[in-house]
């Protein structure tokens, strides 16, 4: 057992009747990591979290936390605590009793528990809120109380089920930063469930992208964004342009792909699944495409197109470029580092060139 497999989700499958909620998920979560389970609703991320908490038993597989198999350990004896999506603050108890709820069997005296609750109240910046009822708290305050109630137990792992989903945008962004800072401060491993890709990218050390019960890719945010391993991940995180193609040449750490309307695309560091003559999905991020009115020099990858709809967003502009022989336009995001008017003046219908580097091309398995 090392810190790299602090939590081992070992080939876990969970069926609810005929529905497979979690499908053979196998991943390891490191000690002290901020780990996110990211995916659309119904992808199995919450079920997986509930399996970690012990509220659901895996149909197949095993959860191992800090070297201990968990299958025989009921929820109340697991070294994990959970922050529920709706916070589940006990309505019949006040804030102090809520935070101290789990300390009954801690072996501490009443005074010690009181002091610990005070400590937590200070940590979540709710000093003086002790005697308040949960019905008197705002959404953000409830969230903090739920957090304190779990953290006072000093769990090995804190599970968070979309804890920011119910907050408004401004508060959510503030809580993202606070939560991240808090996680660094306490050093507890966080497993965080969210469907918000931006939130996951902002907060996580690593992210597991899930779809239909499967964990598609487990990576650091940068890797996930720059080198997604399948179309779902590429599409779910950020925006991506996809082109179907065929590999025409392979070797020397690069691949040439005939990508139809995009012409011949040269891609750097092709992944293992790419084979000569086989189909491949070419993916390029909107911001990796340069847009110029003149044919660019010294670029191997380029294509000519016509500007369709566009949007000026101040710091950047979004263009949709129509290519000959392609029905859906190509999305391009361009930073407005200089005055836009000089570069792209004609607006809709203007003839332009798109160019991109070999390294910005991602080759995905074909559909």
């Amino acid at each position: 057992m090392s810190d790299n497999d602090f939590i081992w989700i070992n080939a876990v499958t969970k069926d609810f009747g005929d529905v497979r909620a979690v499908d053979n998920v196998d991943m390891k979560i490191r000690r002290g990591e901020f780990f996110s389970l990211l995916g659309p609703s119904g992808c199995g991320k919450t079920t997986l979290l509930r399996i970690l908490a012990g509220f659901e038993a895996p149909t197949i597989g095993e959860i191992i936390i800090d070297g201990q198999p968990m299958s025989a350990v009921p929820p109340h004896q697991r070294p994990v605590n959970m922050v529920f999506q709706n916070y589940a603050i006990f309505p019949h108890l006040d804030v102090r009793q809520n935070i101290g709820y789990g300390m009954r069997k801690s072996g501490l005296s009443k005074e010690e528990i009181h002091a610990k609750v005070d400590e937590m109240l200070e940590m979540i910046k709710l000093e003086g809120y002790g005697p308040r009822r949960s019905t008197e708290l705002s959404g953000g305050e409830r969230q903090r109380v739920a957090l304190a109630r779990a953290l006072i137990k000093r769990p090995k792992v804190l599970l968070l089920d979309e804890p920011l989903g119910a907050l408004d945008k401004k508060l959510r962004e503030q809580m993202q930063l606070e939560l991240r800072a808090l996680q660094r401060e306490v050093g507890i491993t966080f497993v965080f469930v969210t469907h918000d890709q931006e939130e996951a990218l902002t907060m996580s050390d690593r992210i597991a992208v899930m779809s239909k019960g499967e964990a598609l890719q487990v990576e650091e945010p940068v890797e996930l964004y720059e080198t997604p391993n399948c179309r779902f991940v590429a599409d779910f995180i950020g925006t991506m342009n996809f082109f179907e193609g065929t590999v025409t040449a392979l070797g020397d750490g690069r691949a040439e792909v005939d990508a139809g309307p995009l012409g011949t695309v040269s891609a750097g560091s092709p992944p293992d699944h790419v084979t000569q003559g086989a189909g491949v999905m070419v993916a390029i991020r909107p911001e990796k495409l340069s847009i110029t009115s003149e044919r660019p020099d010294g670029q191997t990858n380029m294509v000519e197109g016509r500007i369709g709809p566009s949007a000026y967003l101040g710091d950047r502009s979004h263009f949709y470029i129509d290519l000959e022989g392609r029905s859906s336009p190509v999305a391009v995001a361009s930073q407005n580092m200089e005055r836009v008017s000089d570069r792209i003046s004609g607006g809709s219908g203007q003839q332009v060139w798109l160019s991109w580097t070999e390294e910005s091309v991602v080759l995905l398995p074909p559909e």
Binding site: A53, H76, M82, F84, F90, P91, Y101, S138, K153, A166
Partner: protein
């Protein structure tokens, strides 16, 4: 304009007359009870003869009557506690666990509600005789338990469905076993329902007649005793005095139960932001 005005202040029309008649029909007969219980005559008829507390004194001095009151209180109390306990656990099971046969189980528990009391009474009488148990307050209690448990369960189901099951999970997550979670979270949150259920089951048992009539031996409950007394006209005013007492007590008990139940509703919210 007209429609707005009529929405704000409906005039006292046909519906108002209906409402008054309805209330009169329900309550005027009941009000004769206290009226004649203070009337200085053994005949329940107008004109009133004069004020007396004689019947209340007779009531207190009648051993048979007081014994049957005591029997009813005992049976009612035991039935209330047992029905509420059974109803609470049954409600917990059907609201919290995905168990096989949930639908049929609920139906079978609810069935005594729609079986006519006289049928139940005869059936239980046959059983009591067949098994040689004999008739006693115990058999009455069993009969009452059968009819009040569905009510207790209905009350508890609505109470338990009202609060978030994440609360129980949160408690377990924080280190409490299923049993201590029940006492620290489920019970306090369900308490208003439990009180309401206790009071309702007690009331059902206290004034139940048919089952008690079939299932009681020599020792009877109050309704059966009263029924027996109706054959003696001289005893009737005493029964009226007792009826008045029960009416007043019932009024306070039901008011209290309803107040408690409503107070509980405000405790319910857990997730609203």
């Amino acid at each position: 304009m007209n429609s707005v005005a009529s929405l704000q202040a409906p005039r006292f029309g046909a519906l108002g007359v209906y409402a008054v008649l309805y209330l009169a029909f329900i309550y005027i007969p009941v009000l004769f009870l206290p009226l004649f219980s203070f009337n200085d005559s053994i005949y329940i008829a107008f004109p009133l003869k004069g004020f007396t507390l004689q019947w209340y004194v007779n009531m207190a001095n009648s051993d048979g009557l007081m014994t049957s009151v005591y029997n009813s209180l005992r049976v009612g109390a035991v039935v209330a506690v047992l029905a509420t306990t059974l109803g609470t656990f049954a409600a917990k099971a059907v609201t919290r666990y995905k168990m096989p046969g949930r639908g049929p189980v609920i139906t079978f528990i609810m069935l005594p509600l729609v079986i006519p009391g006289i049928i139940m009474g005869i059936a239980l009488l046959i059983i009591a005789n067949m098994t040689g148990l004999g008739l006693s307050l115990y058999t009455v209690g069993v009969g009452h338990l059968l009819v009040s448990t569905p009510f207790a369960m209905l009350i508890m189901v609505s109470r338990l469905e009202g609060f978030d099951k994440n609360l129980e999970e949160a408690s377990q997550d924080l280190g409490e076993s299923a049993w201590s979670t029940f006492w620290r979270v489920t019970f306090p949150l369900a308490l208003p329902g439990i009180i309401a259920s206790l009071l309702l089951s007690f009331t059902i048992s206290f004034d139940e007649f048919i089952l008690a009539f079939f299932l009681s031996g020599t020792n009877t409950t109050l309704p059966v005793y009263i029924w027996g007394q109706l054959r003696f006209p001289t005893k009737l005013p005493t029964v009226l005095a007792l009826g008045t007492c029960i009416l007043v007590i019932s009024f306070f008990v039901v008011t209290f139960a309803e107040w408690f139940r409503r107070r509980g509703v405000s405790l319910k919210t857990s997730s609203g932001i």
